[in-house]
């Protein structure tokens, strides 16, 4: 075989290898969907973040808008501190959005669902502040209102924002435990006569 054909074949081989790598990167992995640093970081505190993992999806309205990048224990408040990276194009999430940990399917993986708050927009925050001022809440409430109005410069979640309203993940054992204890107490109350009988037998 001449050198030229060999070289052409090697060229085809290298091109095929690189094309495969490119296909793996773009078509198979998440590189195309979510490229690294483009985005902003928000935080949320959960009392129970069990089952949640780094790289779990963060969704709003069922659409993935980001990923969990870090989960650590906050030793001051004794809760789990979850760091999320939201993609850059979703920069209009209201500040009063709430975060909940859900399970995909019955046994599926855990993910964070964000829900937009009732107001969130600038006018609403202003309105709220006005309302609170009219109602004449106590000193601390006034301070809170002022803070809200300050936040209102951008009524959206931004780099470093903390989501205040959170709902923990449902742990199956806890649920079952609750159910069982409720069941037992109701049985004791309802079957007050039956229990001694059972004891007598």
């Amino acid at each position: 075989m001449t050198t030229r054909t060999t070289e052409i074949w090697v060229g085809i081989f290298v091109a095929a290898g690189l094309a495969s790598l490119f296909m793996l990167a773009m078509k198979v992995s998440n590189l195309s969907a979510f490229s690294g640093d483009e985005g902003y970081t928000i935080y949320a505190r959960f009392e129970d973040a069990s089952g949640l993992k780094v790289r779990s999806p963060v969704t709003m309205g069922g659409v993935r808008i980001g990923r969990v990048t870090d989960i650590r224990f906050d030793p001051q408040q004794l809760v789990a501190m979850v760091t999320m990276r939201i993609e850059k194009q979703y920069d209009t999430l209201p500040v009063d959005s709430s975060a909940s940990i859900y399970t995909a399917g019955l046994l599926g993986e855990k993910y964070i669902g964000l829900e937009p708050g009732a107001g969130g927009g600038c006018e609403d925050a202003d309105l709220e502040a006005e309302l609170e001022a009219e109602l004449g809440g106590g000193g601390p409430a006034d301070a809170g209102a002022g803070e809200d109005a300050g936040d209102c410069q951008s009524g959206y979640l931004k780099e470093g924002s903390v989501i205040k309203l959170t709902q923990d993940s449902l742990v199956l054992e806890k649920l079952i435990g609750q159910f069982v204890s409720q069941f037992l107490t109701s049985k004791e109350e309802g079957g007050g006569d039956a229990a001694p009988q059972g004891g007598a037998q």
Binding site: V10, F13, A16, G17, L24, V28, N30, L31
Partner: protein, 260 residues
């Protein structure tokens, strides 16, 4: 009797260390000869052709079939749980993380490694290597280095081709024959497979395997007893040792990469 057995065992043990030492010295000489690759670049290209391009057919064909089998088996298991949408994840993760690098390295050892050993061993048996030394050409730089680096360069490309073709084979069976949803196959895959954690680790694995397989092949050829029987034994050893090394190394690398 016992003394003779002990003596024999000791001798064998010393031989193992001796061979390991010779192999390491040879590796350092090859790595030291990397600068000689530039003036002999066409040799390197020729070796990529014989090591990589000629392995392409077996890699592509087995990649397609491995992907198709994964599609079938994965579907049969997942459909019981109503989770056949996850077929893409099953196929792509098993290919990218494990089967792509490992199976292509095993095929590479059988197809290219044995050929390398036989070629170099025959060169030694016919005293071509000694002739080169007589002409003040270092056979390690002239013969071994291009082959070693060609193997090192080809292996990750072959593994990537194997994985990509396998994913397409799984797609063909899963979506084409068994009726898994087209969009779910790709979107679930993209949601679960991470570029750095999964694909780059697979590439790192295949580079390590290429390193080990070509090192063993080149050393066994260079170290072969220069007779026809010696060359045949060296070729067998190449396939056996490099397959075992690939599987053992795979366990270590997997434990390091995905262990946590």
């Amino acid at each position: 009797m016992i003394l003779a057995t002990l003596q024999h065992l000791g001798q064998r043990g010393m031989q193992v260390f001796e061979r390991l030492g010779r192999a390491s010295i040879l590796l350092s000489r090859i790595l030291g000869g990397i600068h000689t690759l530039v003036p002999r670049f066409s040799l390197f290209i020729h070796q990529i052709h014989s090591v990589g391009v000629l392995s392409l057919v077996i890699i592509v064909v087995s990649g397609v079939f491995v992907g198709m089998v994964l599609g079938l088996q994965g579907y049969n298991t997942l459909v019981d749980f109503g989770a056949e949408e996850s077929l893409g994840v099953v196929v792509s993760l098993s290919l990218v993380r494990e089967l792509g690098p490992v199976v292509s390295a095993l095929l590479f050892a059988g197809r290219a490694g044995s050929a390398l050993t036989a070629e170099i061993g025959l060169m030694k048996a016919t005293e071509q290597l000694s002739a080169m030394e007589m002409m003040a050409v270092d056979p390690v730089h002239r013969v071994l280095a291009p082959r070693f680096f060609a193997g090192l360069f080809s292996m990750p490309l072959l593994a990537a081709i194997f994985s990509a073709v396998g994913v397409l084979g799984g797609f063909f069976v899963g979506v084409g024959l068994l009726g898994v949803d087209d969009g779910a196959y790709w979107s679930q895959m993209q949601a679960k497979v991470d570029f750095y954690d999964d694909i780059m680790n697979g590439v790192i694995k295949s580079i390590a395997f290429g390193w080990v397989v070509t090192w063993i092949a080149v050393f066994e050829g260079y170290d072969a007893v220069p007779t026809s029987e010696g060359v045949s034994r060296a070729t067998t050893r190449t396939v056996v040792y490099s397959s075992l090394a690939v599987l053992g190394l795979d366990f270590i690398l997997t434990a390091l990469m995905f262990g946590d």
